[in-house]
Symmetry: none
Subunit: 262 residues, 2 copies
């Protein structure tokens, strides 16, 4: 672990706290906001709630690991000797990334065949994370590059499948829903595409404290966008589908006005 | 960190505990009370619940940071060497302040065009917080004044927009609702206007332990009023709108009076 100034250490520290708070806030949102949706869209919100809860737990751990890895000495932060545990991120992604693709399919409420599609995409997502990990902890750049390349294969498969197989289903959706789904698919591509850029930093020659800070800041931003931002988009899609299909969460006033079932 | 008497240290310590408890209590209120509202008003309560949960988390952190920053020595509290982390407040505000304006618009249940209005006001609120932070951590008074001034620009924009653009929509609301909305807008102006006063204290010559205590006490009071008090006002507005529109949340007693399904 490279030496850090108080400002550098605090930047990462505060960003971890921010990310934890955002995951926590998003959890409350997804749990409560799911009741604003009709039951068939609620499972997508349940998945989002799980994703941010798992991420919140891991950020709490990462936060503590960061605190333990450094000790303040003569005005600078030096390595305490305890390792900063990178595995938390990969365990987190292993659990959350397959859920994120599953969620996109769940909110589309496809008539049939979504089970096999979900299984293939979620499997590829898990494989992508598993193949990335050996590269992340590798000490030499060529091992990082090799595992990074292998990890890219399932990523390309996911992107290809989202555009070819899910494409026609997206095009069949009503106006606003179609636009939102296309945007969400793009958000998924953009945020997931951000991780490999961060991953590549040590390969392109960014090293020492700059690499450490850039990787942590980059992963935090990507996680907030890919989990919280993405979940809110999924909520917006569900609401837009409800409007398009003239569905509403019934409240008592509506119930009172409804004709009694015969 | 200036030296503090036991009384001074305890005042801030107890106030942090009070504020944490108030956020926690408000969270329970907003989560439970939202079911007393018809679905279209519930999102405003969800936002309030998120606001006080995020604030509660940060007060817990601030509380711990305060404890760590001081150590009791010969009957007085002296700096322990660990910094008191001011960033928690700003991270908190970055997440909560945009939600507070969004909430006011959500409870009004405007027919259309509220998305763009919300985006502008929430964006200005975030900008206001971001511009304030460099001044808060600045060691010299002129930097504090400069960033404080820059931060005031989005604040003035928010106030201007609330009075000009939201004004006509407020005037169209039925009697009690109109009065409550006007009062809530005033509460927002008064509480948000309190933060810059606290922020300015070091500039007008309040320094040392007096400044430290006054800033912490001031921010706590402002946070309780702007988050908990404000959220309760939003709840009252929703209830008043329900009364004006003759909406009600049905309970089991009402259901019993309904014609039984055959």
């Amino acid at each position: 672990m490279p030496e850090l100034s108080i400002g550098e250490y605090s930047l990462v520290y505060n960003l971890f706290s921010f990310t934890f708070a955002t995951m926590f806030a998003s959890f409350i949102f997804f749990v409560l906001a799911r009741m604003q949706l009709t039951p068939r869209y609620r499972m997508a919100m349940v998945m989002s709630a799980i994703v941010v809860a798992v991420a919140g737990y891991h950020y709490f751990r990462i936060f503590e690991s960061w605190e333990a890895a450094y000790v303040l000495q003569d005005g600078v932060y030096v390595a305490s000797g305890q390792p900063f545990n990178d595995a938390y991120r990969y365990v987190d992604w292993l659990l959350t990334v397959p859920l994120l693709v599953a969620e996109l399919i769940a909110v589309m409420t496809l008539a049939k065949g979504s089970g096999w599609l979900t299984a293939r995409l979620a499997g590829a997502a898990a494989l992508m994370v598993i193949l990335g990990y050996p590269g992340e902890i590798a000490t030499d750049v060529s091992a990082r590059a090799l595992w990074g390349f292998l990890s890219t294969i399932p990523f390309v498969y996911i992107v290809y499948t989202l555009w070819t197989e899910l494409g026609p289903a997206i095009e069949r959706q009503p106006g606003t829903v179609k636009v939102l789904l296309r945007n969400t698919r793009l958000l998924l591509l953009a945020t997931w595409g951000f991780y490999p850029i961060v991953y590549l930093l040590p390969i392109v020659g960014v090293t020492g404290s700059t690499a450490l800070i850039a990787i942590q800041v980059g992963y935090c931003i990507a996680d907030v966008a890919a989990k919280c931002g993405y979940g809110v988009m999924i909520y917006a899609i569900a609401r837009a589908k409800m409007t398009a299909n003239n569905e509403s969460v019934m409240d008592s006033a509506d119930t009172a006005l409804m004709p009694t079932p015969a």
